[in-house]
């Protein structure tokens, strides 16, 4: 028997049994044909908001309609704030409310500061897990957040610290990572002092602002390891900030201008390959630049972590100096969650002799973050510090003395939080360089220099 008989009804039409919509004839549907459906009305009145809503409402409705909120407990901001207004769910629901004309950009702009753009929510979303194949679509909270921030800036609504940060970046061509100490074009290569690096060439090593001016031990380590492996590379003629942070904070025109400068500079010196040591730059060059320039952007973008893992695999690098540390690895969000890169860093760490490696798997680390991304430390340093403190508590439970990261932007807040636990925060590239017998030099930032005496042997 199949389930076709309806008690208390005459079984008068095809709707009384399971059917696949679209397979019934008009006759079978009887009087109950399609009721008219059309795209929902956009009730927002501001033209910029209407345009934004048209682009993002269906993506937002997919989250709104799920209502699952599985993202909530993996969100680093939610973990420390426990404020439902600052969740991926709210970031999508606000768009639905804007569609309905209930909320305006001015009502919500400040809430969107509270996101590190780590991407954990997108991975945890049931929509990403299962409907992705059907729609060729995934939950894109990071893009929604970027779009709302851009709409805010375009509408003249600024967050004070972001506005000043981007104005200073624009003026100096680099982010003001040293606070009151100005950064400038004359000093962007200071980190390379004594390394005798060329300018230009086919492969260009791009060094992000934080590494170039603050944690200079990272680019020094990378450059020296490349030299040791005999890998030819040069530095940019005139390097500007990648523009990624401006894009993340909503200053899209500025981001685009910086990108145009950098591309022109690479063209001028004949570059075909960009070596990237910072995960944030890696996102910018592999996602933003292709969006700006389309097929014209034909340069190869190489992540140094992947390159080093390959050089170790093929025997061109052999770490041999034993390093007596008990470590765990912090998966940088932009590598692990946004790019799915988590194997190579572990490969490198396992090749270093002497290390005791208390690893935490990369899926568990979906809910870990330093709080250092998405402009959060610029506008809300106290929240970044809380997120880093949360991360360090988990590290401390593993009985380790060193937390290894592979992202310069994470290392400042993590290092400050680590100090309280007597845990060193060391960069993966630094550690590899040391195990290759190199003396790195440079600075590991205020906390790192105090604890480790700069970029010398740890």
């Amino acid at each position: 028997m199949t389930q076709t008989h309806v008690a208390g009804s005459s079984g008068e039409d095809a709707l009384d049994r399971p059917f696949t919509p679209g397979t019934l004839t008009e006759l079978e549907l009887g009087a109950f044909r399609e009721s008219p459906v059309s795209d929902p009305e956009v009730r927002a009145t501001d033209p910029k908001t209407r345009e934004f809503v048209h682009e993002w409402r269906n993506a937002s409705y997919n989250c709104f309609s799920s209502g699952h909120k599985f993202c909530r407990e993996v969100c680093p901001v939610m973990q420390v704030s426990r404020n439902e207004s600052w969740t991926p769910t709210a970031f999508h629901a606000n768009v639905v409310a804007m569609e309905q004309g209930e909320l305006e950009i001015a009502d919500v702009a400040a809430d969107y500061v509270n996101c590190t753009q780590c991407g954990a929510c997108e991975l945890r979303c049931p929509n990403t897990l299962f409907t992705g194949d059907f729609y060729r679509f995934r939950t894109r909270t990071v893009d929604v957040v970027k779009a709302v921030r851009a709409l805010a800036v375009e509408s003249g609504i600024h967050q004070p610290q972001w506005q000043s940060w981007n104005a200073r970046t624009d003026e100096r061509t680099h982010e003001p990572v040293l606070g009151d100490v100005p950064v400038s074009q004359e000093h962007v290569r200071d980190w390379a002092e004594g390394l005798d690096l060329a300018i230009g060439g086919e492969s260009i090593l791009f060094v992000d602002c934080e590494a170039a001016f603050y944690r200079t031990s990272v680019p020094r380590a990378v450059a020296q390891v490349l030299q040791l492996a005999g890998y030819e590379f040069g530095l940019m003629g005139e390097q500007w900030c990648c523009g990624g942070p401006a894009a993340e904070m909503g200053y899209v025109d500025q981001a685009r201008r910086f990108a145009e400068h950098n591309l022109a500079d690479w063209r001028a010196t004949g570059a075909t390959r960009i070596l990237v040591l910072d995960p944030h730059d890696y996102i910018t060059f592999t996602e933003d630049y292709p969006k700006y320039f389309g097929a014209e952007f034909d340069l190869e973008v190489v992540l140094v972590v992947e390159l080093f893992a390959e050089l170790i695999r093929t025997g061109r690098l052999t770490p041999s100096v034993s390093i007596d540390r008990t470590i765990t690895y912090h998966d940088p969000c932009r590598l692990n969650k946004r790019k799915g890169i988590w194997q190579e860093p572990r490969e490198i760490l396992r090749a270093i002799p002497g290390l005791v490696f208390n690893d935490v798997d990369h899926v568990t680390q979906w809910s870990y973050c330093s709080g250092g991304g998405g402009g959060l430390p610029v506008e809300k340093p106290e929240m970044t510090a809380a997120i880093s403190a949360n991360r360090l508590e988990r590290a401390a439970a593993l009985d380790i003395d060193t937390l290894v990261s592979a992202c310069p932007w994470s290392e400042r807040p993590l290092g400050e939080a680590g100090d309280g636990h007597d845990i060193d925060v060391v960069d993966l590239h630094e550690l590899l360089a040391e195990s290759l017998g190199l003396t790195v030099g440079g600075s590991r930032g205020d906390v790192g220099d105090r604890r480790l005496g700069g970029g010398g042997p740890a």
Binding site: M1, T2, Q3, H5, V6, A7, G8, S9, D13, L15, D16, P18, F19, T20, P21, G22, T23, L24, L29, F32, E34, S35, V37, P40, N58, Y61, N62, F64, S65, S66, G67, H68, K69, F70, R72, E73, R82, N83, E84, S85, T89, A90, A93, N94, V96, A97, E99, Q100, E102, L103, D107, D111, R124, P126, L129, F130, T131, G132, F134, Y135
Partner: protein, 504 residues
């Protein structure tokens, strides 16, 4: 219905004596994001459901102070925990203060010897279990919203657990809790007064009274929970049938078998399989003659679960089941249970794919009445579809409520294109909701096994279901909440404050 701006200022000023500035939220976005839950929501009437402000207390004492102030100023209080409930418990109907407990998420104690833990009610079960796993323990309260629901919401709704047949439901798993009454007094309720007592005969059994009230009797703030060894083995066989009747008979036999590790059985009806086949990406394609599915799940030690599994396999085979194999079984359970896959699109009758919200309507129905309720519920949803393409029938599940197979959480899933809701469609929906509840009662069931029953439509029939018991509810409400400040408008409890002759 919200209060005036001056009144909000007065409330905020009073609250600031007990809370910091970052604990009192008054912005528009703060309020819009605390107006809804995943239950069908009339987006076109969002503004009608806004609170006036929200607070984020961090201790029982702060909650008590907030409630005391609200009671003095006669301002409604709406408790909000995970905000994942499906009967609108956390949706403000008369504005007021949303008390959002998410910051009370500490683990205060893990008592390994007595196998209990004490937590703030703002903690999520998955996060709690991450900590308990270090000790080889588990808190097995397992709703569909397991990764995001909070312990406090489970208490306020008296939640239902998917593996309740093995471990019990929230009411069995929560031993005791601190609770703030509508007047701001703090009480402790449990079996007797003990914090870790699992069975007491002393006094009235108040624990059940303060569970499932949907926030109308106060706010639970700290709870002591029962813990179990984290199970070593999971077995989740799936079986296919070419008709509903055989699948139904098999489900009953599995549940009645009395296998100790049996944690639940799920029956997928023909509409459900048809829906999964047409629109669910997680559905693993099956031959066309597969029209109904059954799965069972067992938890325990390896040497308990294996022989138990063999017994259930035998029972299923005797009922004409086709076992789908180990791989599909484990994968499908992971998809439906661990990841809770739900397709977020449905179709118009002509087959156009449209974005839709998944909405599950539930009831508690005795085994023998499942087929009749199943047929009549589909007829109600067919009626909706005849009138509007905003609705789609996504089929039904029946889940065992307990270990003996007496009754089942019966669920019909309805796709709703919420973006298209207008007053007419909303009215159709509310009427359908009432009809579904009417069917359940006419078959001796309860309006809800899991969600609660205080939404528009269904709530009209609660006095019918409870009879004289509903009058007792009114008496209790008036006694404990003399000023009707706790979640007013829910469960028709406003009637408690009308003159006696008007209370029908």
């Amino acid at each position: 219905m919200t209060i005036t701006a001056e009144r909000v200022d007065e409330v905020v000023a009073a609250l600031r004596h007990v809370l910091r500035a970052d604990q009192v939220l008054t912005s528009k976005a703060d309020r819009y994001n605390r107006a809804r839950v995943p239950a069908p929501f009339p987006v076109h009437r969002w503004a009608d459901r806004l609170p006036d402000l929200a607070v984020l207390p961090e201790s029982t004492e702060e909650v008590a102070e907030v409630v005391r102030i609200a009671n003095q100023l006669r301002i409604p209080v709406v408790p909000r925990d995970g905000g994942t409930g499906l009967t609108d418990g956390a949706v403000p109907l008369h504005g007021g203060i949303v008390v959002d407990v998410k910051r009370m998420n500490k683990i205060h104690e893990i008592d390994l010897a007595n196998r209990t833990c004490t937590v703030g009610t703002g903690i999520n079960m998955l996060k709690l279990n991450e900590e308990l796993a270090r000790h080889g323990l588990i808190y097995p309260d397992d709703p569909a919203s397991y990764p995001c629901a909070l312990v406090g919401g489970r208490i306020g709704t008296s939640g239902w657990s998917l593996i309740g047949a093995r471990y019990g439901h929230t009411r069995d798993l929560v031993l005791s809790f601190d609770h703030v009454l509508p007047t701001g007094e703090i009480i402790h309720v449990g079996d007797g007064i003990g914090r870790k007592i699992t069975k007491s005969s002393s006094g009235y059994q108040l624990k059940h009274l303060f569970m499932g009230h949907q926030g109308t009797l106060g706010i639970a703030t700290r709870a002591t929970l029962k813990l179990f060894p984290k199970p070593e083995a999971e077995l989740s066989p799936f079986w296919a049938f070419d008709n509903y009747d055989d699948a139904y008979a098999c489900t009953g036999a599995l549940a009645r078998a009395g296998v100790a590790t049996f944690a639940g059985a799920v029956l997928f009806d023909e509409h459900k399989v048809a829906y999964l086949r047409r629109d669910d990406e997680a559905y693993i394609p099956q031959p066309k003659d597969v029209r109904a599915l059954v799965c069972a799940v067992m938890y325990g030690y390896e040497d308990e679960v294996r022989p138990a599994g063999r017994r259930l396999m035998r029972i299923a085979r005797d009922h004409g089941a086709r076992y789908l194999g180990d791989e599909i079984s484990a994968g499908d359970w992971a998809a439906r249970h661990d990841r809770y896959a739900t397709p977020l699109h449905g179709r118009t009758k002509a087959g156009q794919v449209v974005p839709m919200s998944w909405h599950c309507e539930d009831a508690s129905i005795n085994y023998t009445n499942l087929p009749a309720v199943t047929r009549e519920w589909h007829a109600v949803v067919a009626g909706l579809r005849r009138k509007s393409d905003v609705f789609d029938d996504w089929g039904m599940f029946a889940y065992t409520n307990g270990s003996t197979g007496a009754d089942y959480l019966t669920e019909i899933d309805v796709g709703i294109w919420e973006q298209q809701l207008d007053d007419r469609a909303w009215e159709l929906w509310v009427r359908a909701k009432r009809d579904l509840a009417g069917v359940s009662l006419s078959h001796g069931g309860s309006i809800s096994a899991c969600h609660g029953s205080c939404r528009e439509g269904e709530v009209d029939l609660v006095p019918d279901e409870l009879g004289r018991g509903f009058q007792v509810m009114l008496d209790v409400k008036r006694t404990l909440d003399p000023n009707n400040i706790m979640n007013p408008g829910k469960y028709l409890l406003d009637r408690a404050y009308e003159p006696p002759e008007a209370r029908t």
